[in-house]
């Protein structure tokens, strides 16, 4: 009888049911779209952050910024022979940020409580200058005057000559080949050839970033010379998003040799044993290992600006509150409409009570109807929400993440190397903007929340109506209409 009565009533009050269901649907759809867009933005931010230091890294440890005036490794000079007109070349291998930590720091960090893994890396910048000098040529004056002949100074002129040099800068990252699971190279995947194996700790082999390889015509099997050392390219790596961490990856030991930085690293990449304990691990490292800067992904996230950041802020503030407001309004409207429907059915419920129906049974009937309305609204809302999320994903609006701007600019030696010139693997250029296509993934948890909201909406609406129905006394109900 419960279901028969319920079905017939919903069919009779189709329009009212549709109004209630539509209100709830709108609220639920908004919740789904907002939370899926938020989730998409969060994923986009994660992508941006992962592209900086690779998968699995929870924090980085770098050398603390030195006091003003103490920084730098001293002046480096390029020396060229100005005689002759042969092409000359000279390159300088510089440690990015000029700040290094002793390799032993890696083990020290690894020993800290809560650290699951720690890997060191050395980020280098290679500045290559090549070109040629052309000496000037003496030109005699017209009329055959000779230089220096007689007085009068009718000498010739030295014309032409000069220098034409190309300056080429690229980045090299020295990676610990024995720990391939952590570090910047994990943010790229090998699309050709292979990655390092653990026996290549001191081998002259390199992995090249695909964009750089394309630009320079490099590929697996070819060679590249860095500061006089010829490296064989064993693989090509493509960054998952944005720019790669470096143009070339070589074994750490080789990088240390090239940069004359024996047993030095610029960055220690740290994976925490428990992602909930990142702050305490950070505090422990800072306390136990002096002169270091620890940067977590949360610190890094603060440096992401641009439209991604703005949209994320909008989704978490305006979107969230709009969803809540619409949901509250929908719940109230559903409650009032259900309550009003009960008012119109006082004779019906009064009669049922006169026939011996308990208040609880009448209330259950009202709540049941409201609950079905809520579930209909939920189904409609989920369909609308999925449609909205699909639309966002299909359109994939491009958001720009400005990395290292503002706050990041001062993060010397930190994980946020961009714009700061720190020790971490530097993306190409300071304050680099990354374009990320926004998606709106709908998780099962979001759908569960939607179903929960639908049930809650139905129960709230049913609560309003049921409360009225329960209070109804049969004599009053019959008296009001007779």
């Amino acid at each position: 009888m419960f279901f028969t009565y319920l079905r017939r009533e919903l069919r009779r009050r189709r329009k009212a049911a549709l109004v209630v269901a539509s209100g709830l649907a709108l609220g639920i759809a908004l919740v789904i779209v907002v939370s899926s867009v938020s989730s998409g933005m969060s994923q986009a931010q994660d992508k941006v952050l992962q592209s900086l230091y690779g998968l699995g890294t929870d924090m980085t440890v770098t050398k603390a910024a030195p006091p003003p005036g103490e920084e730098g490794q001293g002046k480096r000079r390029f020396e060229f022979d100005a005689k002759g007109d042969d092409e000359q070349s000279s390159d300088r291998v510089l440690v990015q940020g000029f700040q290094t930590l002793a390799s032993s720091t890696v083990a020290q960090v690894g020993d800290q409580e809560g650290v699951a893994d720690a890997v060191g890396g050395l980020s280098l910048t290679v500045l290559k200058v090549n070109g040629e000098f052309k000496p000037g040529e003496f030109t005699a004056p017209p009329g055959g005057g000779k230089t220096g002949s007689g007085g009068g100074g009718g000498g010739g002129r030295v014309e032409g000559g000069g220098a034409a040099f190309d300056v080429n800068t690229y980045s090299v990252y020295g990676t610990d080949v024995t720990a391939p699971a952590l570090g910047p190279l994990t943010s790229s995947r090998i699309t050709s050839g292979r990655t390092f194996n653990s026996s290549e700790a001191d081998a002259a082999v390199a992995v090249v970033d695909s964009a750089y390889a394309k630009e320079k015509g490099l590929g697996t099997g070819k060679t590249v010379t860095i500061s006089g050392t010829k490296f064989t390219i064993i693989g090509v790596a493509t960054a998952d998003s944005g720019d790669a961490a470096a143009n070339l990856y070589i074994p750490l030991k080789k990088a240390q040799t090239l940069a004359d930085a024996k047993d030095k690293v610029t960055t220690v990449y740290v994976k925490a044993a428990d992602s909930q304990q990142i702050d305490s691990v950070k505090a422990a490292i800072q306390k136990n290992i002096p002169d270091t800067t620890v940067t977590t992904s949360a610190d890094l996230a603060d440096t992401v600006s641009g439209s991604l950041s703005t949209a994320s802020d909008l989704a978490t503030t305006v979107g969230k509150w709009l969803s809540i407001a619409v949901l509250i309004a929908a719940f109230l409207v559903a409650g009032l409409l259900t309550s009003s429907a009960v008012s119109r059915r006082v004779r019906e419920f009064g009669t049922l009570k006169a026939l011996g129906w308990k208040s609880g049974r009448v209330t259950r009937q009202v709540v049941g109807e409201a609950l079905v309305n809520g579930l209909l609204g939920g189904a409609l809302g989920i369909a609308l929400g999925l449609g909205g999320a699909y639309l966002v994903t299909a359109i994939s609006p491009t958001l720009t993440a400005q990395l290292g701007g503002g706050a990041g600019g001062g993060a010397r030696g930190g994980m946020v190397a961009i714009g700061g010139g720190g020790g971490g693997p530097v993306r190409q250029g300071a304050g680099k903007a990354l374009d990320i296509a926004l998606t709106a993934p709908v998780s099962l948890a979001t759908l569960a929340v939607a179903v929960g909201l639908a049930v809650a909406g139905g129960l709230i609406a049913g609560g309003f109506g049921g409360w009225r129905a329960a209070r109804l006394r049969p004599a009053d109900a019959l008296r009001r209409v007779e």
């Binding site: 009888m1 028969t4 009565y5 049974r361 006394r473 049969p474 008296r479 007779e482």
Partner: protein
């Protein structure tokens, strides 16, 4: 069956206090038939609601089979109504979305009868009021007389001890009125139940063996030996 002693029902209407019933004493025998008559607003329906356990008196006792309905907890009062009392209303009070059979079934729901048994008894009840062919019709597809028959079937399907009818022919034309009255009287005789009816129709009142006239909340009972 019923023993009413000093039943008073007082309503507050604005600043005025109205006594719908003013110290009513009344005895109704098991299997008896009583018609309650009186002017509009005289307290007829209020008295019927006291007898049906739909309302409680301000003071006095309404004993039904030795139990005072006035002091009975709500849950037990609901049970008394569900098991012992059948109601017929002037406006039929059928649920518009349910079929005739389902409307009749609503009276069996509180008794805990399962679906098949409920349907069978509802069909029998409708058959007994001449609507065996109309089980699947909703009220909107039935005439006023047919709707009242469905309401009568609903009142009787649970085999109550008492049938309370509040102006059962009030919304019907004359021919339909006689038809319904014949049906009710026939069923009263057939089932041996106590039948109490409110009406302002004198022709119906004259046919009753016992007439309770109610004016300004006070009841006068007259016996009609001719009926």
């Amino acid at each position: 069956m019923y023993q009413l002693s000093g039943v008073t029902k007082r309503y507050q209407r604005g600043k005025k206090t109205v006594d719908a019933l003013a110290g009513v004493d009344l005895t109704i025998e098991d299997g008896g038939r009583l018609v309650i008559q009186g002017p509009t607003g005289g307290g007829k329906s209020t008295l019927l609601q006291m007898l049906g356990g739909l309302d409680r008196p301000t003071s006095g006792t309404v004993e039904f089979d030795g139990v005072d309905l006035a002091s009975l907890p709500e849950a037990r009062l609901t049970k008394v109504r569900a098991e012992n009392i059948g109601f017929v209303f002037q406006s039929f009070n059928l649920i518009p979305t349910l079929t005739a059979q389902e409307n009749v079934e609503t009276a069996l729901v509180p008794l805990g009868l399962k679906g098949a048994a409920r349907r069978e008894r509802a069909a029998e009840a409708l058959d007994s009021v001449g609507l065996g062919e109309r089980l699947g019709h909703v009220p909107g597809e039935l005439s006023g007389g047919q709707q009242q028959r469905v309401a009568i079937a609903r009142a009787l399907v649970k085999r109550p001890k008492v049938l309370l009818a509040d102006e059962p022919t009030g919304n019907l034309d004359e021919s339909m009125r006689d038809e319904i009255m014949e049906l009710l009287e026939g069923l009263w005789k057939e089932h041996g139940l106590t039948f109490i009816m409110v009406t302002h129709d004198s022709s119906i009142a004259r046919r009753a063996p016992r007439l309770a006239t109610i004016r300004k909340g006070r009841v006068t009972v007259t016996e009609n030996a001719a009926a």
